[in-house]
Subunit: 329 residues, 2 copies
């Protein structure tokens, strides 16, 4: 059930089999599998998964290629709740290792916040990442196009950019490298650095060799209408026409609650075994937080793997029988 400040008391008195931090594609898939293994599951979700911003999910098997990401999330939440799972809109601030259990300090309510402690045998970190966007004075102007024809994922949306005039908005020499794989899809590429980083001679010559442009003047605003970006206006008043865009400015990882566990990482991502277990035996990581391909279908599969391994762990740690567990529906 959906927990509220009024109804969550009974949930803080019990120990969950699994608490999932994050109600995106990975977390919901894990929750569906866990509830079907008859394990008590709580998903703590602060809302706005990365897929929430996807206006059209083009590559997810079984869904028409114009399905909005938020439809998948809505269907997944309904599915999870129909199986008797618990869902709480809240923010996880800290996790404490108590040995047999993990205790989560959770902030409930954006205003007049209250703090509660939830306990669980296993934790699945499914809180994902969010893409950094160009910082303009008027962020509304960025949100108007991001997720429409201003993309954040080459693998997801390279196809949509094929043979088009693409602006690439990067924040470092490292993430400007995306122009090269993007070159598979189109020859018409303009890199916008906004003057935020230096393009050294070696990178500059590799880019210009390919016939791509480099613009270093900062952006004043994106131009367009009806969520279709048609170009950018620079701070010097110049206008560059574009047909579509790719933002490559890195990502913020939503996993500060795990910081003090010092879990094994590779380039910011959590390292897991093939069943999505991190270097801590009771903590799993799925979706964009872990090393691997940042795709909705991969996150959903990660959820199935983590849930299955947790079921095996719990089953094997006891008598192999359920005790005091009933089917929820």
């Amino acid at each position: 059930m959906k927990l509220t400040k009024q109804t969550l008391q009974s949930s803080t008195d019990q120990v969950y089999d699994t608490i999932i931090v994050g109600g995106g594609a990975g977390g919901l898939s894990a929750g569906i599998y866990l509830q079907r293994y008859l394990l008590n599951t709580l998903i703590i979700d602060k809302g706005k998964a990365r897929s929430f911003w996807m206006q059209e999910l083009h590559n997810y098997l079984g869904l028409p290629p114009d399905t909005p990401g938020r439809s998948v999330l809505r269907q997944g939440k309904e599915h999870f709740l129909s199986l008797g799972g618990d869902l709480l809109d809240a923010f996880v601030e800290e996790v404490i290792d108590e040995g047999e259990t993990l205790a989560l300090r959770v902030k409930v309510g954006r205003n007049q916040s209250e703090y509660y402690t939830f306990r669980t045998k296993y934790l699945i970190a499914a809180s994902g990442i969010i893409d950094y966007l160009p910082e303009l004075e008027n962020m509304r102007n960025v949100y108007d196009y991001a997720g429409y024809n201003l993309h954040v994922c080459l693998i997801c949306d390279g196809y949509e950019m094929a043979d088009k005039k693409v602006g690439v908005f990067a924040s470092s020499a490292g993430n400007a490298e995306v122009v090269f794989p993007l070159g598979w899809f189109t020859d018409q590429i303009t890199l916008f650095t906004q003057g935020q980083f230096e393009v050294n001679d070696e990178l500059r010559s590799r880019i210009t060799e390919q016939g791509y442009e480099i613009v270093e003047t900062p952006i004043e605003q994106f131009l367009g209408e009806n969520h279709q970006m048609t170009g950018v206006e620079l701070t010097d008043g110049q206008v560059v026409e574009l047909e579509t865009g790719l933002i490559s400015m890195g990502s913020k990882y939503h996993a500060t609650y795990l910081d003090k566990f010092n879990l094994e990482k590779k380039g910011g991502n959590l390292v897991t075994d093939k069943m999505a277990r991190t270097s801590h035996p009771r903590i799993f990581a799925i979706g964009d937080l872990k090393v691997g391909l940042n795709q909705v279908v991969v996150a959903a599969a990660d959820g199935a793997l983590a849930a299955t391994q947790i079921w095996r762990d719990i089953r094997r740690s006891g008598t192999g029988k359920r005790v005091d567990r009933k089917v929820n529906v």
Copy 2:
């Protein structure tokens, strides 16, 4: 496009970037990703994927929990064809390694069959497995219930069997072991050996210790109506009432076309790296054929991984640019 004997000639004259053997969940997902990477893809499908038999897919994120497996396959085929992929209803008999390419000898047409050779840079083996079913004189009687309440997958359908009287139909002592994880879901288990294998003292005592029954008399027929199995009649006339069933008789692997490659295997399944590549650099394996969890969502994710790695291989092996490739839509 859908290829036929009349239209396939132009397809045998070209070299595909990838040919996928099998049009189930894994193959279709791979095909969708490959076409979106602007790679020419042919799926060769002999029909009737394992998921085709699933009357209700209960655990796939984004779809209502009563979605038939065949709806996912239909949607996936439509999606793949809309991206310009080629699809052929045929059977792959043999694969020959030609170095830079692989040549597939393909039988087209169940009657008046003709043989054609298709060439590809990469091959994805997505031809899956199919479960062995109890062999009764009247197989119609088995098909009436299999995929409804006579299940083949504990992970998929344990939830549906919870707290019910379940018959387990096994064909070896090894696959009879499924009664123990099934014990997580229900205490009311009857193992049917049909006299096909011996239950040694050790296994017998482990089973009876749990309070499960063992029936060794062969089955005459399943009883029930409207695809709901309600019990079995044994060859001695005895009737055992049941509420549901689980078949655990092993699986047939659809991969004889790969036999002479001697790919690395583990217990019948192909071993792959984390991007689904087998021990042959141009052959990938996804879904139930490979080591891992046999789940639709995992197969779909495997398809995304294999397709992405093939794209990287092809891109990096050339100039990084598309040559003579156009967007198909």
